[in-house]
């Protein structure tokens, strides 16, 4: 990936932002942005609509949280294992889901995610309805104390950048080239000898693992892992973020996550808190009907009109 001026500008903004805005809030945006980017890899670049990505976000969070509380691991190892657990679950779920197409794919992912929701609801180690609370952030590599929010933010930024880079590399790799071919014309890809389901499966695993990475990191930021993250609402929210930002664009999910998280933060504090789901629903409908390209699409149009 070549670094454009836009990349550099955004990176500068990300570096200075915690001096202006609350670092935990920014870290939350980055976690959800990574989650949405991982989801977008499937929807935008393979054409698969997963409606169960909360399963991977939640798994990453629970496993990492549990390890931090019980295994005396350093955070980077706990996150790595949480990510691997989500990737493993993705391997299993993906194997079952990629055999289906369109709405059936979405239904299978939803059903499987509901299954894991009930597992986590019942399993003693998750803390059930209360969730896993007071997860220690620990010391990165045994050296850097993450309890400081600013330090934590920069760590999350590094994790995000890694995930963002990996997704972009995947899109622009030999593998990504085959994914594009499959999305564009699946029967033709088959007739060229590609076992398309294997490619979808690998993409699913990458997406699941990175969603898990987002969840794992998030559990350290908030020192909390709870059922909210595995609930189907969360699976819907990531669809919303991606659609609002712009499906199949590099920056769309990032922008969408920023917009939705900001809005939720703003609304939940105010009088409109009770209407948050209605407002979200309305935004969703408006985006789908009027702004097919999402925020990124609208921005591009704006730039073209004024500078093009």
């Amino acid at each position: 990936m070549k670094l454009s001026k836009l990349h550099i500008a955004l990176l500068l903004v990300a570096l200075v932002a915690p001096f202006v805005l609350y670092p935990v809030f920014l870290a939350k945006i980055l976690c959800f942005a990574l989650f949405a980017c991982a989801f977008n890899l499937l929807l935008g670049y393979v054409g698969l609509l997963s409606f169960g990505h909360a399963a991977f976000l939640g798994t990453g969070g629970y496993i990492t949280g549990w390890l931090m509380m019980n295994a005396n691991l350093t955070p980077e190892l706990a996150i790595l294992l949480g990510t691997a657990a989500a990737g493993l679950l993705g391997a299993l779920y993906g194997k079952l889901a990629v055999k289906r197409e369109g709405i059936y794919f979405a239904m299978v992912t939803l059903a499987l995610a509901q299954l894991i929701f009930f597992v986590y609801l019942q399993a003693p180690f998750t803390g059930g309805e209360d969730g896993m609370q007071g997860i220690p952030r620990g010391e990165l590599f045994g050296l850097i104390d993450l309890s400081d929010n600013l330090t934590m933010y920069y760590f999350v930024l590094a994790v995000f950048l890694f995930g963002f880079w990996l997704i972009n590399r995947t899109i622009h790799s030999p593998f990504g080239q085959v994914l594009k071919a499959i999305r564009e014309n699946e029967p033709r890809a088959v007739s060229l000898g590609y076992n398309v389901n294997d490619y979808k499966w690998v993409a699913f695993m990458i997406s699941a693992a990175l969603a898990g990475l987002a969840g794992a990191t998030k559990s350290l930021v908030f020192q909390l892992a709870s059922l909210t993250d595995v609930h189907w609402h969360m699976s819907g929210e990531v669809v919303l973020m991606t659609l609002v930002g712009g499906v199949g664009t590099v920056f769309g999910p990032l922008l969408g996550a920023g917009a939705i998280v900001t809005m939720q933060n703003y609304l939940s504090g105010g009088e409109l808190g009770n209407y948050i789901h209605i407002i979200m629903g309305a935004i969703f409908v408006i985006c789908v009907l009027a702004f097919r390209g999402g925020l990124v699409g609208e921005l591009q149009k704006l730039v073209k009109r004024n500078f093009g």
Partner: protein, 262 residues
């Protein structure tokens, strides 16, 4: 000694709900031939192609490729074995460039198609070969164009280049000249002749002038069953064929027009 058949179907049957689209077809494709499959619309030609490449599973019957039973194989595996098909509707990757279309086909044998951590530019070493293939179908000057912007005739030429990239032993072409202007028809026909060297081609073709020019052998399909087989002279004078196929007013007219412009 029996002739050398690349592909054989034995008692091939495909029944859709309520009716039999392919009815006990025994097809024998001789190595090195251009073999045409003709017949009126709805005769079951595309369905036969779908069965031979396993895009559809036969209700009964067997498919042999080089004497080996490939009936249980998956479609991608059949393609890798050397039977590569094209589609009746143009099958390109519209958002990729013309060069990338061919390269996707070349890429598979490189063994790096699952490498998601490596940059796409490692595929650049395939560019020369891709350009050669594009040149062979006259598309070299369109290499960097987005495929969706190509004319219909050029898209079909690109399909042939992409198929050739796999160097298939047997090429299945479903109506490669359908919907083309006269010039394009001539060009694609020449192209098919040219690429048939060293391989076998089974093609569905409506343009009887093209069939007469290219085909070594013709199989006529009617309502899912083989009506007759033979070379052009035999088939075209068969009264049953004339009745079923060429005898219809529209076909005769179309045929006459093609003869005129040829």
């Amino acid at each position: 000694m029996s002739a050398d058949y690349v592909l054989e179907s034995r008692n091939l049957v495909k029944a859709f709900k309520g009716f039999t689209a392919v009815d006990d077809v025994n097809l024998k494709v001789t190595r090195g031939h251009i073999h045409a499959l003709i017949g009126p619309n709805g005769a079951g030609k595309t369905t036969v192609f779908n069965l031979l490449t396993k895009f559809l599973s036969p209700t009964s019957g067997r498919i042999l490729f080089n004497g080996q039973d490939i009936t249980p194989m998956k479609p991608a595996a059949i393609a890798r074995a050397g039977v590569v098909r094209s589609f009746q509707i143009s099958a390109v990757f519209p958002q990729l460039t013309v060069l990338e279309n061919v390269r996707v086909a070349l890429q598979r044998k490189e063994g790096n198609s699952f490498h998601f951590w490596r940059p796409q530019r490692i595929l650049d070493r395939l560019n020369d070969r891709a350009m050669e293939l594009l040149t062979s179908v006259g598309l070299e000057s369109f290499a960097d164009a987005r495929t969706m912007d190509l004319s219909y005739g050029r898209k079909r030429a690109l399909e042939i280049a992409t198929t050739l990239a796999l160097d298939p032993e047997l090429m299945l072409l479903d109506e490669p000249t359908q919907g083309m202007g006269h010039e394009d028809v001539g060009r694609v026909a020449d192209l098919i002749k040219q690429v048939s060297a060293g391989r076998t081609i089974l093609m569905v073709e409506h343009n009887l002038h093209v069939v007469s020019k290219l085909a070594d052998r013709i199989t006529v399909l009617q309502r899912g069953a083989i009506l007759t087989e033979g070379d052009y002279a035999t088939v075209s004078t068969d009264p049953r064929v004339q009745e079923a196929y060429m005898g219809t007013a529209a076909a005769a007219e179309a045929n006459a027009q093609q003869e005129e412009t040829a």
